[in-house]
């Protein structure tokens, strides 16, 4: 397993840590938002990704999804967002006569 290959660990408290490169994504569980930290410690050797963790390594970004959240890791940084899209209230408005 190369250094950039995603690795993971399921902790005793139910939280999940995922390492991508030198970044650590900590999913606390219970649908709460994950945290991203720059990992100083070496990631666990041979850490298999815990069940439910989905990782997609593409050219433009590496996306890690788990527990209703996803982290998008690109060259410019990491964005964490809910996995389900929230459709906004925006609509196209136009005036009707007299309104």
């Amino acid at each position: 397993m190369g250094e950039d290959e995603p690795r993971g660990r399921k902790n005793a408290d139910g939280s999940v840590d995922v390492w991508v490169g030198r970044r650590r994504l900590s999913f606390p569980g219970g649908g709460r938002k994950p945290k991203v930290t720059d990992e100083q410690e070496a990631p666990p050797d041979g850490g298999e990704l815990p069940r439910g963790v989905r990782v997609d390594v593409a050219e433009s970004a590496t996306i890690v999804g788990y527990d209703g959240w996803y982290a998008r890791i690109t060259a410019s940084g990491v964005d964490v967002s809910p996995a389900r899209a929230r459709r906004g209230p925006g609509r196209i408005f136009y005036r009707r006569r007299g309104s």
């Binding site: 433009s60 996306i63 999804g65 996995a83």
Partner: protein
């Protein structure tokens, strides 16, 4: 990442009513222009076109030709510009992502992005295996909204880019019709003082001079017919040179001629 599945949605984002609004405006405009054009053409008299001569009235012939070309050209331009607004919009999510200006306009409206930070992220979320099928489906709805809004923006841009050229073409068309009308309708020729109705014949008595007898003797039936008072009718001419026709009597013949003072005089019968 999973490959994009072909998916055609006729009204993504439900913006069809907004797009139709612009199309209705385009239809109103072309109807107004057509009405104005019809009024102008209806008032144009075309019957005189055949009487135009390139030698006599080159300016009017040129005006007819230029005006006709300008009017027909303006109509073609107006129809073409209107069709740009009326024709269906076909676009895909991938096109929007690839078009920087459109992409920037969409990204300036974060409520369209469903929580993503940029369109590229939405595109990735549509295909990524890092999301569940159910989660990915929510991003399909976002892509629908994006495509719908982009179609609206493109229609709006087409309309706004069309409005001024449309107005300019309409003005050119009106000028063309005006030039055509001016060229095709030269003023009536001056008919001078000649009456429309010929004057009624007036009974006169003609007395010929020697020169008149010599000139008209043969035509009147001999020298005897040319002497004395000759009954005739004045049927036109002028006071100094009336046009007369003599009345036949016996062997004297009827003859029509202009009577100059040197040949004699015509005196009205009492």
């Amino acid at each position: 990442m999973a490959p994009d599945a072909p998916d055609i949605r006729p009204d993504p984002g439900g913006v069809q009513s907004a797009i139709d609004r612009y199309r209705d405006l385009a239809k109103y405009l072309i109807t107004i222009f057509a009405g104005v054009g019809a009024l102008l053409v209806a008032g144009t008299q075309l019957a005189s076109i055949g009487e135009l001569s390139l030698e006599d009235e080159p300016g009017r012939v040129a005006a007819v030709a230029v005006g006709l070309v300008a009017a027909v050209g303006a109509v073609a331009v107006i129809v073409g510009l209107t069709l740009r607004v009326l024709r269906p919009v076909e676009m895909s999510f991938a096109e929007i992502v690839a078009e920087p200006k459109l992409r920037a306009e969409i990204e300036a409206r974060p409520w369209l992005l469903g929580g993503a930070h940029e369109l590229g992220e939405v595109r990735d979320n549509l295909a990524t295996t890092a999301l569940t099928d159910e989660e990915r489906e929510t991003w399909v709805a976002v892509a629908d909204d994006v495509v719908g809004y982009a179609a609206y923006l493109r229609t709006r841009a087409a309309f706004e880019g069309t409005w001024w050229p449309l107005l300019a073409a309409a003005i050119v068309g009106v000028l063309g019709i005006t030039a055509f009308t001016w060229g095709a309708n030269p003023p009536d020729e001056d008919v001078g003082a000649s009456p429309v109705v010929e004057p009624a014949p007036v009974p006169v008595q003609i007395a010929l001079t020697a020169a008149g007898r010599e000139a008209l003797g043969e035509a009147l039936g001999g020298s005897a017919c040319a002497s004395g008072r000759i009954a005739a009718l004045a049927i036109g001419g002028t006071a100094s040179e009336p046009k007369v026709v003599t009345l036949p009597r016996g062997s004297c013949k009827a003859a029509q001629f202009l009577l100059p003072a040197a040949w004699g005089a015509a005196i009205a019968d009492e």
